[in-house]
Structures are given as structure tokens and as C-alpha cells.
């Protein structure tokens, strides 16, 4: 019983979002929420002397960017409920206040397996985050799991 989807979607970019601005406040709020106290993320004066010469967002800030409205039009859906099953992130340039981040996304893989909760289909979507300088900020492989 193979999973029914159009194999042509694999690797085809379905969306490039508008640039999302990153504010100093957004980074500060994020740090507070995860209990991050490292000066290179929270203290402008200390960060200036650090390896990046200014405040950078913690690496996990990279997964807070969203796909746009095209996501649900182009990513195949199986079953009723979707779950976030995990993410695999490769980090590039750090994210700084004032950056504008663009997400370019494609479906990387679709596969079926069975687990404790029944049959599941996994759709792996890769979003590449790019900053306003054209630098790769992160590749985020997002595993969506649907129960079928």
C-alpha cells in the first residue's frame, strides 16, 4: 500500500515568503521565554566584544519562522490530524536584530511507517532561511506526521 502523492512535488520549491523582519525586542522576548542568559544573546555591550560583534539570536530562534499560506496548498496532507514530529536544523549565519529572513521551501521526502499510535505518513519539508545579505541562515527540515 504505497502512499498516494505526486512524486513531482519532491524537490520543487513551492514557496518563497516575504522577508520577515527580526527586531531586537523579538530576540529579547525569545531569550526570556527560554531562560537564555548568555551575554552574547542578551547583553549588547558584552555581545559587541563577542565573536559576532553584536547581539545574535540563540540558534533555536531559527525554527520560529513560519511557512506562508502556500504551505497547505502545496504540501500533501494525509489523514486528519497533523503533528510536529521533529526538526533537523543546520545552522549557517547567525540571526541578528535588523535582519530580514526569507523562507524558501520544498518537500524533501514522503514516507510511511507504523508506530504505537497506528499508521503514519511523514512529510519532510525543507525550508532554507536566507538573510538580507543572501547568506544561508539555516536549513530547517521539518518532519510533519499524520495519522492515517
Amino acid at each position: 500500500m504505497a502512499v498516494d502523492y505526486d512524486p513531482a512535488i519532491i524537490g520543487r520549491v513551492f514557496e518563497t515568503t516575504d522577508p520577515v523582519p527580526v527586531s531586537a525586542e523579538a530576540i529579547a522576548t525569545f531569550c526570556t521565554a527560554i531562560g537564555e542568559t548568555n551575554p552574547i544573546h542578551v547583553d549588547a555591550a558584552a555581545a559587541q566584544k563577542g565573536p559576532w560583534g553584536g547581539i545574535t539570536a540563540p540558534p533555536s530562534f531559527a525554527v520560529t519562522f513560519r511557512n506562508g499560506q502556500h504551505f497547505f496548498q502545496h504540501v500533501p496532507r494525509f489523514g486528519k490530524q497533523g503533528f510536529d514530529a521533529g526538526k533537523d536544523v543546520e545552522f549557517g549565519a547567525p540571526i541578528r536584530p535588523g535582519d530580514a529572513i526569507t523562507l524558501t521551501s520544498h518537500v524533501k521526502e514522503v514516507y510511511e511507517k507504523t508506530g504505537r499510535t497506528g499508521s503514519m505518513v511523514f512529510v519532510v519539508v525543507r525550508s532554507t532561511l536566507t538573510n538580507q545579505h543572501g547568506e544561508m541562515v539555516a536549513h530547517v527540515d521539518h518532519k510533519f506526521m499524520s495519522r492515517t
Binding site: T32, A33, S60, T64
Partner: protein, 139 residues
């Protein structure tokens, strides 16, 4: 404490264990900060209606917690996490004590990288979220 260096890292070295109490308010703060303000992450009653045991922690927050375990280990050494992969195995329920733990599992001389296992464990010892990370040590 001296900072970790590529040469000082040994396979079998540990990250943590760190125990911490994750409160519902912390989860709500994360949900609010990251635009994930949806009932399953903010409200027990609404989460139960979705068939969950109560409000759960967003996977992204678990990832952030694991990422912080790695960055705390890196400290001010100048090393950098270049990859983090996570699998969300079971829901992480707030208002419980969680244990964060990791082990250095591999080193690559050519890339000057160290690989590590990291996970979030429940009070019962179940590994709720598991992952691996790669840390690069520049020359």
C-alpha cells in the same frame, strides 16, 4: 571552569544532567513569544478536548531547551553548534521536572567537530525528546 576545546573533548563526556522544573507559565511565555498561542500549548481543558493529557510543550520549545543544553556546554569557548536534529517522541507536559542530558559520541579530526546525543527525560525515565547535535571548533 576551563572552557571546552576540541582537544579536551572526550568521547563519553557528559552534558548535564540538568534537572529543571518546567512550569505552564514558561510554556505560555514561549507560545506567546513565538506566535504559537494555540489552545494545546496554553490551556489544559482545551488540550484535553484534543485528546491530549493536558497542555503540552511545543516541540520547538523542547528543541530550544536542548539547544541551550548544548550552548551552555559550549560556553564562551568559541565553538559553535552547526546542526541540531530532534525527534519529538512523547508529549512534554509542563508542571513536571525534566532532566536534560547528553553524551559526546563521536569526534571528527578533519572537520574539528564533536557529535553528541541529547535528550529530555521525564521523571519516570522516559526519553520524551531525543536528538543529536554537531559542534564545530574553529582553529
Amino acid at each position: 571552569m576551563s572552557e571546552v576545546t576540541y582537544a579536551s573533548v572526550q568521547i563519553g563526556d557528559t552534558l548535564g544532567p540538568q534537572e529543571f522544573y518546567l512550569s505552564k507559565d514558561q510554556v505560555r511565555a514561549y507560545a506567546k513569544a513565538t506566535g504559537m498561542w494555540v489552545p494545546r500549548f496554553t490551556d489544559d481543558e482545551a488540550a484535553r478536548k484534543e485528546g491530549l493529557p493536558g497542555m503540552i510543550t511545543p516541540g520547538n520549545m523542547s528543541l530550544a531547551i536542548m539547544s541551550k543544553l548544548v550552548s551552555d556546554w559550549i560556553g564562551a569557548s568559541g565553538a559553535r553548534m552547526i546542526r541540531l536534529g530532534t525527534t519529538y517522541r512523547q508529549p512534554v507536559l509542563p508542571d513536571h521536572t525534566l532532566t536534560l542530558q547528553g553524551f559526546i559520541t563521536h569526534k571528527s579530526e578533519n572537520d574539528r567537530t564533536a557529535e553528541m546525543d541529547v535528550w529530555v527525560e521525564s521523571e519516570e525515565g522516559d526519553r520524551l525528546v531525543i536528538g543529536t547535535a554537531t559542534v564545530h571548533f574553529p582553529r
